[in-house]
C-alpha cells in the first residue's frame, strides 16, 4: 500500500494567521476549525466558564444574522456549528458537506470576525448552563470527576470546570465574555484547520480572501505553562452520597506537560498501567481477577502546563477499600518492579498498529492537526510518530515509570455511601470528609 499518511499543508495568511490543511478523499466532507490558542485556563478567579460561554455565544448570532437565521442557514446545508473552550484552547468548528465549501468557510469567518454578543442570548446561556450543570451533577461519574479536579488543583487555572460552576454562574457578565474575545481572538495566536475534500491551493485562496484581513484584538494572555503553586495534600477524601449503591473512585497526582521529553515513554507506561483496556494491569487485576468493577482506566492529561494523572473507576460499595488498596499496589509494583519487555512490545505494537485507524475520518485528522499546532509538534509529526513509539527502550520506559509515577503521594477521592466503608478506609490512611457543596 502506498504511503497512506496524509501530507499536512501549511500557509500563513497575510494577517499572520496560520492555516493547516489536509486534502481528504474518502467522503465529500469538510471539517473546519478556528482555534484561538487560549482557553478556560484564562477564566478569572471565581468566574469559571467565561471562555467557554464566549465560544458558545459566538455561535448564537453574528452582526448580520440572528441566532435563528444562523441556525436555519447552517442546518439547511446539513452542517453543524459548535463553539467550546477547554484548557489551553478555544475551538469554533463548522463541519458539513464539501459541496458547500465556500459557504462554510465564509460563515465561519463571519462568526469569528463579526460577533454580535447579543445580551438576550447571554442571559439564556446562563439559564441553560444552570440547567445543564444541575443535570450533570445527577451523574455520579461526572460529579466525582469534577469534584476531583477542584479538590486537586484548588484555585489554580486547571481547577475549575470549563463549562462553568453552579456556585458562581451569576458572577459572569457579558463584558467578561467580550473581554475574553477581544483579548484572545487574534491572528498571531490563532490557527485555521481544514480537513476535507478540497484542494489546498483553493483553500489558501479562499481563506486569504475571507480571513486575511481579520485583525482581531490582543495582546493575548501569556501562555499558561507553569505547574500550580500548590496542589492538594495526599490522602483519602470522602464525599458522602448515601443514596448511591456504588462508590466512584478517583486516584491521582500531578502529571507532565505535553512538551516533556518523556511523553512517549510515559504514554507507553500508562498503556501498561491502565490505558490498555484488558491488556492493562489495573483492568487485569481489578476487573478480570477480582471482578470488582466493570471498568478502570488511567490517563495523563498532557497540556501546556502539567495536567493531572488520574485513575478512575467505580465499584459496589462493599469493595471500596479493597479497590483503593489494590490500585495503590498496582501503581507501586509498576514503579518499583518496572515492566516486562513483552508488555512494552505489546504497547508499542498497539500504538503503531492503531495509528491508521485515526486517519479514517476528517474529525480524527482535524484533532491531530489541532494538537500538532497547539503543542508545536511539527508538520512531520505524523510521518515520524511510529518511529517515536518504536524508539522507546525498556530502560527508558522503566526509568520513566520510576520518575513519573508517585504511589506515595496519591490524592484519593471516594464518593458514595460512606458509612459502608469509612472504617475500612481509615485502616489505609488518614481520611477527611468533604463538604457536599
Amino acid at each position: 500500500m502506498p504511503n497512506y499518511i496524509p501530507e499536512i499543508h501549511q500557509a500563513t495568511l497575510p494577517n499572520g494567521m496560520n492555516l493547516l490543511g489536509v486534502e481528504y478523499a474518502r467522503a465529500p466532507w469538510l471539517s473546519l476549525t478556528f482555534m484561538a490558542k487560549r482557553g478556560s485556563e484564562t477564566d478569572p478567579p471565581g468566574k469559571a466558564g467565561v471562555a467557554d460561554w464566549a465560544a458558545e455565544l459566538l455561535t448564537l448570532g453574528s452582526a448580520g444574522r440572528s441566532q435563528l437565521q444562523l441556525a436555519q442557514d447552517i442546518e439547511a446545508r446539513g452542517a453543524s456549528l459548535s463553539g467550546r473552550s477547554g484548557f489551553d484552547a478555544t475551538l469554533i468548528s463548522l463541519e458539513g458537506l464539501a459541496e458547500d465549501f465556500e459557504e462554510h468557510l465564509a460563515t465561519l469567518a463571519e462568526i469569528v470576525q463579526t460577533p454580535a454578543f447579543p445580551e438576550d442570548e447571554f442571559l439564556l446561556i446562563r439559564e441553560r448552563r444552570r440547567a445543564e450543570l444541575v443535570q450533570q451533577l445527577q451523574d455520579p461519574r461526572e460529579m466525582a470527576s469534577l469534584r476531583y479536579l477542584r479538590l486537586f488543583f484548588g484555585d489554580s487555572p486547571y481547577g475549575h470546570p470549563a463549562p462553568g460552576d453552579l456556585r458562581t454562574l451569576d458572577a459572569l457578565s457579558l463584558a467578561d465574555l467580550q473581554g475574553f474575545y477581544q483579548r484572545e481572538f487574534t491572528p498571531g495566536t490563532s490557527t485555521l484547520v481544514a480537513v476535507g475534500m478540497v484542494e489546498f491551493p483553493t483553500l489558501v485562496r479562499e481563506a486569504g480572501r475571507l480571513w486575511g484581513n481579520f485583525r482581531g484584538g490582543g495582546p493575548a494572555s501569556p501562555a499558561f505553562t507553569a505547574p500550580p503553586d500548590k496542589v492538594c495534600s495526599p490522602g483519602i477524601y470522602l464525599l458522602d452520597r448515601p443514596d448511591l449503591t456504588q462508590s466512584e473512585i478517583r486516584v491521582g497526582h500531578l502529571g507532565l506537560p505535553r512538551s516533556h521529553p518523556d511523553y512517549f515513554p510515559l504514554k507507553l507506561v500508562n498503556y501498561i498501567l491502565g490505558e490498555g483496556g484488558f491488556s492493562s494491569r489495573l483492568m487485569t487485576r481489578i476487573r478480570s481477577d477480582l471482578g470488582f468493577t466493570y471498568g478502570i482506566r488511567s490517563s495523563f492529561s498532557f497540556r501546556r502546563a502539567p495536567g493531572p494523572f488520574i485513575i478512575s473507576t467505580f465499584t459496589p460499595a462493599a469493595n471500596t477499600a479493597a479497590v483503593v488498596q489494590e490500585i495503590g499496589r498496582v501503581v507501586r509494583d509498576l514503579r518499583q518492579q518496572g515492566l516486562t519487555s513483552q508488555e512494552l512490545e505489546e504497547a508499542q505494537s498497539y500504538y503503531v498498529g492503531h495509528f491508521p485507524l485515526g486517519l479514517e475520518n476528517p474529525g480524527g485528522i482535524s484533532r491531530l492537526l489541532l494538537s500538532i499546532d497547539l503543542f508545536d509538534l511539527g508538520r512531520d509529526y505524523l510521518q515520524g510518530y511510529c518511529e517515536q513509539i518504536r524508539g522507546v527502550s525498556l530502560k527508558t520506559a522503566a526509568q520513566s515509570a520510576q520518575e513519573h509515577l508517585h504511589p506515595e503521594s496519591l490524592v484519593i477521592l471516594v464518593m458514595g455511601p460512606a458509612a459502608r466503608y469509612a472504617e475500612a478506609l481509615q485502616e489505609l490512611g488518614a481520611v477527611q470528609f468533604l463538604e457536599a457543596s
Partner: protein
C-alpha cells in the same frame, strides 16, 4: 482551477460495494472492500439478543457476551483482547434486543488472526465457575452503573416494561437484578449451544480485503463448524395499545423528568424514514422546533425526540421516545402539557417544506460523514441483513429519506403520535429519607 476527480464532491458515489456469500453451514459472509487505508473492520453478528430470553433468565445474552472473552481451551481469560489489541486492534462487543455483535477494527495484515481467534471462541470456549463467578459480579456492577445509579436508567426500564406487555422488548438488555443473581453457568452453557453457531452468524469484513481471499479465510476457519439447526421460534408481536399508560419512579434527583414512548415501526418498515425525519424536525439541531420552543428559552433543561438511528433501529416495532427534563425550579407538568400541545399542532397543521428540506439535508449529511468509516459501513450492511434479510437496503437509505413528502410526515404524525398510543413515565425527586423508606434500589 478544475479540481482533480479525487477532490470533486459531485463525483463521489455513496454506494457501498458488497459481496455476499452463504457457506454450506449457513454462515453469511459480507465483504465490503475499500483499499484506501491498511485497516479492516471484522464483525461477527450473532442473531441472539434479549428478545430470545425468557422471564427468569433476562440478561443472559449480555452476560454471555462477557463470557466470550473469558478464554478457550488454549487461551486464558481476556487473552483474546490482549492478542488483538497488541496488534493495534480496537476490540469490543455489544448486545442489543436483537443481536450480539463482536468486532475488531484492525490493521488488515491481522485479519486472519482475528478470524482464527473468533472461530476459536465459537468452537472451544472454556467456561468454569472460576471465570463465570467474577464476570457475573462485573455485570451486576454494570447494571448498577447503567440503570440504578444513572439519572434516567430506571425510568427508561419502567417505560419499556409498561409499554410492552407481551413482547420481549419489555425487559432491559442488561436484565433484571433478580434474574442476574440467579443465573448459573449451566444456563449459560445451554444458551451458548442453542444460539452460537454458523446458522445464526453474519460475518462482515469491511475495508482492506479482497473478497475472494476473505471468503477463503472465512471458509478455512468457519467452514467446518457444524450447524445444529435453529430452535423453533415464533414471531413476537405486541398488541396495539388501547389508551395512555402512566407510571412514576421516585428517586433522589435534582431534576424532574419524563420519558414518553409511542409505539412505532421496525427497521424494515417504510414509515421508519418519515418518522426519523419527524424526530429530526422536532429536535435535530438548533433550528429545530423543540429547541426553539423549549430549550433555547429555558423552558426545558433538555428535550429530545429519539428513534434509534440506522442501523440500530429494532427488528420489531420500536418506541419513539420523548425525553424531557424540566428546567430547575419549573414544574414538569406545565412542560409536559406544552409539549403535547406542540405535537397536536404538528398533527393538525403538518410541517413546513423548509423544515423538511433541512431535516433531509441534516440526515443526508450525517450519513455521508459516517460512510467514511469502515466500521459503520460494516454495521449498516451486517445489521440490515440480520434484521431485515436484505443488506442492500443500506444502499437505499439516502433515496428513502429523499422520497419522503410533507404529506408523509403529517400521516405518520397522525398515525403514531396519538395519546392512546403513548406511555409516560415521570421521574419524581424525593429526599434521601423518603427514597430509603421506599426500599432498596435494584
Amino acid at each position: 482551477m478544475t479540481p482533480s476527480p479525487k477532490f470533486a464532491p459531485a463525483a463521489w458515489q455513496p454506494g457501498i460495494e458488497m459481496v455476499q456469500e452463504t457457506l454450506d453451514n449457513g454462515l453469511t459472509l459480507l465483504v465490503l472492500p475499500d483499499r484506501s487505508l491498511p485497516i479492516v473492520s471484522l464483525q461477527l453478528h450473532y442473531q441472539v439478543g434479549s428478545r430470545n430470553e425468557l422471564p427468569g433468565i433476562t440478561g443472559i445474552s449480555h452476560l454471555f457476551e462477557h463470557l466470550m472473552f473469558r478464554g478457550t481451551e488454549t487461551r486464558g481469560p481476556e487473552e483474546f483482547s490482549r492478542i488483538l489489541q497488541s496488534r493495534g486492534g480496537e476490540i469490543n462487543a455489544f448486545t442489543t434486543r436483537d443481536h450480539t455483535s463482536y468486532f475488531e477494527n484492525l490493521p488488515s495484515e491481522h485479519l486472519e488472526l482475528g478470524l482464527e481467534l473468533e472461530a476459536d471462541r465459537l468452537l472451544h470456549l472454556k467456561l468454569d465457575n472460576d471465570t463465570f463467578a467474577p464476570e457475573l459480579q462485573v455485570v451486576i456492577s454494570e447494571r448498577k452503573l447503567r440503570s440504578v445509579d444513572s439519572p434516567l436508567g430506571l425510568v427508561e426500564e419502567e417505560l419499556f416494561a409498561a409499554a410492552y406487555t407481551q413482547h420481549p422488548y419489555q425487559w432491559p438488555v442488561i436484565g433484571w437484578d433478580q434474574d442476574l443473581r440467579h443465573l448459573s453457568l449451566k444456563d449459560c452453557l445451554a444458551y451458548y449451544r442453542s444460539h452460537y453457531h454458523p446458522g445464526k452468524l453474519t460475518v462482515v469484513i469491511a475495508g482492506d480485503a479482497d473478497p475472494g481471499q476473505a471468503r477463503d479465510l472465512v471458509a478455512r476457519h468457519f467452514g467446518a463448524i457444524p450447524n445444529p439447526g435453529a430452535p423453533a421460534t415464533h414471531p413476537f408481536s405486541e398488541p396495539p395499545q388501547r389508551g395512555e399508560r402512566r407510571a412514576v419512579v421516585k428517586k433522589v434527583s435534582q431534576v424532574e423528568a419524563l420519558l414518553a414512548g409511542y409505539h412505532v415501526v421496525d427497521m424494515g418498515h417504510p414509515d421508519y424514514y418519515p418518522l426519523q425525519l419527524l424526530a429530526t424536525i422536532l429536535t435535530g439541531g438548533r433550528a429545530s422546533r423543540f429547541h426553539q420552543e423549549f430549550v433555547r428559552p429555558g423552558k426545558a433543561a433538555s428535550l429530545e425526540v429519539e428513534l434509534a438511528p440506522l442501523p440500530f433501529s429494532a427488528q420489531d416495532p420500536d418506541l419513539l421516545v420523548v425525553v424531557a427534563v424540566a428546567a430547575p425550579g419549573s414544574p414538569l407538568a406545565a412542560l409536559e402539557e406544552e409539549v403535547w400541545q406542540s405535537l397536536e399542532r404538528l398533527r393538525r397543521d403538518g410541517v413546513e417544506s423548509l423544515e423538511l428540506a433541512r431535516a433531509k439535508k441534516l440526515l443526508r449529511s450525517q450519513m455521508v460523514k459516517s460512510l467514511a468509516h469502515n466500521f459503520f459501513r460494516g454495521l449498516l450492511a451486517g445489521l440490515f441483513h440480520l434484521k431485515t434479510g436484505d443488506a442492500s437496503r443500506a444502499n437505499r437509505i439516502l433515496a428513502s429519506f429523499e422520497a419522503v413528502s410533507e404529506a408523509d410526515i403529517l400521516r405518520v404524525a397522525q398515525t403514531y403520535l396519538r395519546p392512546d398510543n403513548r406511555t409516560v413515565v415521570t421521574l419524581q425527586p424525593v429526599s434521601p429519607e423518603e427514597s430509603a423508606s421506599l426500599g432498596p434500589l435494584a
